[in-house]
Symmetry: C2
Subunit: 426 residues, 2 copies
Amino acid sequence: MFTKIGRNVAVGFVLSCVTTVAQDPSSVPRVLTNPKFHAAADFVEKDHDRFVREIVQITEIEAPPFKEEKRAKAFAEMLRQNGLTDVQIDAEGNVIGVRKGAGDGQPIIAIAAHLDTVFPEGTNVKVRREGTKLFAPGVGDDSRALAVLLEMIRAMDAAKIQTASDILFIGNVGEEGPGDLRGMKYLFQKGPYKDKIKMFISLDPYGLGNDVTTGGVGSKRFKVTFRGPGGHSFGSFGLVSPAYALGNAMLKLSKMQVPSRPKTTFNVGVIGGGTSVNSIPFESWMDVDIRSETKEELNKAVDTFTRLMRDAGDEENRARATSQGKIEVEVKLIGDRPFGQIPAGAPIVRTAAAVIQTFGFTPTFGMSSTDSNIPMSMGIPAITLESGGTGSRNHTLDEWIDVEKTASVKGINIALGILLALADVQ
Amino acid sequence: MFTKIGRNVAVGFVLSCVTTVAQDPSSVPRVLTNPKFHAAADFVEKDHDRFVREIVQITEIEAPPFKEEKRAKAFAEMLRQNGLTDVQIDAEGNVIGVRKGAGDGQPIIAIAAHLDTVFPEGTNVKVRREGTKLFAPGVGDDSRALAVLLEMIRAMDAAKIQTASDILFIGNVGEEGPGDLRGMKYLFQKGPYKDKIKMFISLDPYGLGNDVTTGGVGSKRFKVTFRGPGGHSFGSFGLVSPAYALGNAMLKLSKMQVPSRPKTTFNVGVIGGGTSVNSIPFESWMDVDIRSETKEELNKAVDTFTRLMRDAGDEENRARATSQGKIEVEVKLIGDRPFGQIPAGAPIVRTAAAVIQTFGFTPTFGMSSTDSNIPMSMGIPAITLESGGTGSRNHTLDEWIDVEKTASVKGINIALGILLALADVQ
C-alpha cells in the first residue's frame, strides 16, 4: 500500500518544525561525511543496472495476498546470495535476515519492504520496459523497495561498513488488502524479534526521497453479505434478491458524504455471489475499505456506512416479495489497521529530516497506511520512506516506475543515509 | 431449468381444445390397455425403492455447467447396466443410448433429462432424507428425471416391450445457465442423430404428470461489464469506479417495468470483479437473464435494459472524476434461447393429453424454457413432461422433492405411457 496524503498540511508542519530539525541528531553529519558512506553511495550508482534487473526479477514472481511463498523463497535466496547470514522465513511467512553490528545485538533497527501485491493469481506480471520506464503490476508496489534492500546490503558490504546496531532486513507478507498487516503483527507481537526492534523503517514503492510518513492512517475493512431465499429466475420472479440489495448498498455508499480534511475515504473493492445466470442469488457480497486520518471521522464514516447497509436490505424487503424469506444483511469486520503518530520531535524523524536536507531536499511529512502503522500504534519509533525514482498507477494493471538513474540512485542513497545515521557507522 | 407458467391461461386453452383432444390419437387406448404396459407400470411400482436410491446416487455426483463429465460417465454406465446397448458420450458431452425398435431405425423418438445443475463446484450435494422428502441441490432439477429414464428402460425390459420406433435415451449437458442449451444444439444441429429425431420429449424435475409444456419461452442472457481506470482506494479516492456504476445498474434494472402478461422477467445472477479491498476495481460485471413469453416483449425489455446499462455508466462518469479514464460499459450477449410453440392440434400434444386424461387428470398446457426450446424452434414436435411426485425450491440450496410412492409412480407411468403411445408397442 502506498499513498501519500496531507502534503499541503505537511508543508506548514515542516516550516514549524525546522527549528527543531536544525538541532540535527549528532550522528547525521558524522555518518554522511564518512568516506565509507561515500564509497557505499558510489557503489549504488555503479551497481544500478543490476538493481534494475533485480526489480524485474522480483516483479515477475507473482505474490498475491496469502500466496507470497514463491516470492518469499526467492527473496530469501537473494538475501543469502548478497551475503546476509542467518536468513529465515518466520512462521507467518516473513523473510528476515540480520546484518550484525558491532554491539551485543541491541538495539536492533528493522527495515522492511513488503512481498505481497494486490493482484490475484494469474495476473500477467511480465515487465515491459520503455526507455527508463518499467511497466508491470507490482513493479513499484513494492518490488522496487525489495530490490533497494538488496542494494543497501551490497553497498554496505562493498564499503566495508560496520554499524553499531544490528540491522534486520525484512521482506514481509500481508501488507496489502486482506493481509491486514499480518506480517507486521506477527513480527512485533509474536515472532522471534518481538520486543527487540527499537526502530522501524518501511520502504514505500517509489518517490524522490524527500517525503517521510510519520502518521499511520487508520482503516477498517468489512465484508458485507446480503442473503436471501434465492430461487428460479423466471419461476420465482418477484422475490427479493440479494443482488438488488447489494446494488442499492453500493449506490448508497457511493453517495456517502465524507470530509476532505481530515481525509476520509471509502471503497468497494471485490464483489461476488450468485450461482448461475438463471437463479436469483442466495448470497451477494462486497469487500469495503474505509479510512480516515482521524479516529473520530473513521468511526463516523463506519456508523453511517453500517446504517446504509441496513437501509439497503430493508428497502429490498419492501420492494419485492418476502414470501420465501427476507433479505438479511451481515456486516463483518475483516480488517482493522490501527492509527499511529510519531511526534515531530522524535529522534527518528529528526534524523530522517536532517539526512534529507543534507541531500538538498526540503523534507515533507505525511500520513499514510503502511506497515509502520503497527509499530507506530505500539509506540515504537517508525517511519515510512520513499525508495527513489518516480512512478504511478499502483494497484492497477497499468502500474509503472521510472528508473532514470539520477533520481533513482539519489532516493536509494537518502534511505541508506537515514538507515546508517540511525544505526551509526563505526 | 424448470418453471411452469401460464397455468391460468392454460386452463382456458385446455377447455378450448378439449374437443380437439377428444379425437385421441389412435395408439393411446391400444397401448394403455396392452397387458405389457400394465406389466411395465406394475414393475415401476415394485421397483420404486431402487428408483429412489438412484436419484440419490445421481444427485450426489456434482455436475456444474460445463463440468458434467463425472456425472455423464456414471450415467452412461448406469444406462449400460440397465441393458441399453450402444451407449456413447457425444462430442458435446451428452450421454446417448438407443433402445432399438422393431422398425428400420426410423422414426427415432428421443427422450431427455439434463445432467447439469445450476450449482458451482464444491456445493454440498449430499442428500438428506426426511420421511418421503429428499433435500439436496439438484435432487429434483434434474436428477429425478435422469432416474426416471433408467426406470423406464428397466420397466420396458421387464415387460418385454418392443416398440415400433427406436427410442434414444439422453442425459444431456448444457440445459442450465451458461450452458445455453448447448447439449440440444449439438444433438439437433451437429451430432450423429441430427435430422433423424422425429419427436422429442424433455423430462422436467418433478410434477404430478398432468402438465405439458408446449411452448418455449425465449430468453436472452448478457454479461454486462463496466471497466474503468482502477486505482488506490485511498490515494485515488474520487475517481470513477466500475463498482458504483454496476451498483447503479443493478438498482436501475431492479426497477425496470415489465408486463405480468405476457410474463416477462429479468434477473441478476452472478456478479464479480475487483482485485483487492484496497483497490478501486478496473472491472465489475454481472450476468443478466431476461425472458418473455413473447418475442415482442423480450425485445422491448432488452432495449430498455441496454439503455439502463449505458445510463448507469454515464451517471458514474458525471458523479466522480474521469481524470485517469472514463467508465466504459460492454453489454455482451452470452445466451439466446429461441422461442418455440407446438400447435395444440399436433399429434404429440393430442397423444400426451389423451394419456393424461386416461390417468384421470385434466391436462394443462404451459410455456417454459427447457431443452425442448431447440427442437420447437426447428419445427420438430417436442414437449416437456413432468416426471412425477412433487417438490420445490429448485435453483436454491433448499431444493427438495417428495418421493411419496403413489404420486411418484403415477407420474412416471404417465410419462412412460406417453412415450410408448408415441413409439407404439408391437
